[in-house]
Amino acid sequence: MNGVPAVRLAQVSRHFGAVKAVDAVSLDVADGEFFSMLGPSGSGKTTCLRLIAGFERPTTGQILLHGRDVSATPPYDRDVNTVFQDYALFPHMTVGENIAYGLMIRKVPKREREQRVGEMLTLVRLPDIEGRKPAQLSGGQRQRVALARALINRPSLLLLDEPLGALDLKLRQQMQVELKTIQKQVGITFIFVTHDQEEALTMSDRIAVFNLGRIEQVGTPADVYERPTTAFVAGFVGTSNMLAPSAARPIAGHDAPLSIRPEKIRIVDADAPIPPDCQGAVGVVRDVMYLGMYTRYLVTLDTDRTVDLAVVQQNLDTSSADVQRVKGQRVGLIWRRDDARILRTDLDRSGVP
């Protein structure tokens, strides 16, 4: 990151009565970044987006856009545009009028307006629907029109509030790729709100994981997935084995909670030696689930019979019958020391999700 950040939140809070929807959040988003805010519903990510757009005003704290304090600036004076979750197209206007709305306000001459609407429709790959009303469009088409309507103003920052949530899986995956391509093409900073961890991992340069009005972790998709710092992040982004301090002690030799991703664990013989850069445990396979691409094992640890470790192995040359044979056997589990992440406890207000 260099230069002035596109967005800076400095200790921003937004309270609704007793509810702290956003609680002392600080954040920098770099210019040109594809930044995602990830979290479950009610985690404060959408309120955060609305604060940046100007639909909400912070209870305390400052919001800076390109270094300028906009905490008291209304939305119509911010160089920011939004793609709404429900698209919020104007139902009484045609697609062309919807897209040209921002240009009409800026009194852009008719010829330039028409030309730019045409460009936008090409960008979002929707030619020839200019004269239609929003009610005549499919969900995917409305989503693209909403995107075109926001992008035509060439904002310095585009906010997207779960824009793919209403689309079916196939269309969603296609739009993920397209959004990313469009972002590269126009070179605008995107802030993308989603509750879908896979979506966030696929599209983002960086991700902020929200929980209970706060940011638990900010980092690249690999950071957040491979090196989760809190139990919430480890559990919300992908799945993970969470070991309480008591269960971690005999294995790792320290009193801190651990997170180990199921696919980082290898199954070996019960008496196999543990390499120096690894940790290991021994247990009995309690359950085996064949899932086609991979198999999921639940192993009850010898050191603590209340703990099952989930292990995922790719099915390289096994068959569904082979994997079942392991059930009830005593096996060894090993993983690299680096893959056993020590979790922070100071932020941990919600426990393991």
Binding site: F55, Y76, V80, T82, A88, L89, P91, H92, G102, N153
Partner: protein, 318 residues
């Protein structure tokens, strides 16, 4: 119990009565159910309502023989010709002008309240305002009119307040205005106008409120987001989307004012409104054909009004 009864216990069920059998018939033939549901309404609208309306229309093509005082049942346009007399034209202009003024001012006053109720009021506040709008409708129309008679009277609270505030001059000036003035507020078109606006206001507030409630918050936010200042957003987004509600409300206030004969009678002077003219013609004058023809006027005016509203796109969003 017979052997058959024990073999088929279904027949013994108490619910297997007439109602159940009727239910089965309706289930098998939904058209019958539809007819059963609609028949009373259709009879009401078709026979009683449309029937009397067409009887009225037929009456308007007869005429009253001035000498014998009898209605001559022959087809003629003579009665419609009478509508064109200057005194009747004056009645139409007076009534339509009043209806237009009442509608316009009702809309102007109703919109902010409806907007506040739909967008900003808390749940509790909205319920209170709703009650405030509705409660007057539950009490007698005549009681409310005579209450206003007292409020606007020379000894009433309005004059008292005007005196207190030293606005006597303004009140006198208002009452001295030609055309709308009069001896006192309770005997002037100003009074008629004030009471009309009061009486019909709920019919304007409720449809506008309903229309504004259907405008999604995100659409208004989207306009602001794209750079639209509040005034621009109001003109380009909120008003067009609420327009069907405004038109619905205006249809109420306009047509109700066109047809009313009590308020102008209580507050007005000796110049008639359409309603009063109808009342007098069918009553004391015994001129049913002319009363019928006079009644056709508001119907035609409303027809033209609706066509005009449709031209403005009032029903596009419905």
């Amino acid at each position: 119990m017979s052997a058959v009864g024990t073999l088929t216990p279904e027949t013994a069920r108490p619910s297997d009565g007439l109602l159940r059998r009727i239910g089965t018939v309706f289930y098998r033939r939904p058209v019958l159910a539809l007819i059963a549901l609609l028949l009373p309404t259709l009879l009401w609208i078709g026979v009683i309502y449309l029937g009397s309306l067409s009887a009225l229309l037929v009456q308007s093509f007869f005429y009253l023989d001035g000498f014998s005082g009898r209605v001559i049942r022959e087809f003629t346009l003579r009665t419609y010709g009478e509508l064109l007399l200057q005194q009747n034209i004056d009645i139409f202009v007076r009534t339509i002008g009043m209806a237009a003024a009442v509608t316009f001012v009702s809309g102007l006053l109703a919109f902010p309240l409806a907007y506040y109720m739909a967008r900003f009021a808390s749940e509790r506040m909205r319920a209170l305002l709703y009650l405030g709008v509705m409660v007057p409708l539950w009490s007698s129309y005549l009681v409310r009119i005579y209450a206003w008679k007292l409020i606007l009277a020379q000894e009433g609270i309005v004059v008292w307040l005007a005196n207190l505030l030293g606005l006597q001059g303004a009140l006198d000036w208002l009452l001295a205005l030609p055309g709308i003035g009069g001896p006192s507020l309770s005997f002037s078109y100003i009074g008629v106008f004030v009471v009309f606006v009061y009486i019909w206001m709920p019919y304007m507030i409720l449809p506008i409120h309903a229309a504004l409630e259907r405008v999604p918050r995100s659409v208004i936010e989207a306009s602001a987001d794209l750079g639209g200042r509040p005034g621009y957003t109001f003109r380009r987004v909120i008003l067009p989307l609420a327009f069907p509600g405004v038109v619905a409300g205006s249809i109420f206030t306009f047509s109700l004012t066109l047809g009313d004969y009590i308020i102008p009678g209580v507050f007005g002077n000796s110049s008639y409104f359409i309603g009063q003219a109808v009342f007098v013609q069918q009553g004391t004058a015994g001129n049913i054909p002319l009363a019928a023809a006079l009644t056709v006027v508001p119907v035609v005016v409303m027809g033209v009004y609706l066509l005009f509203a449709r031209r403005l796109g009032a029903f596009d969003a419905i």
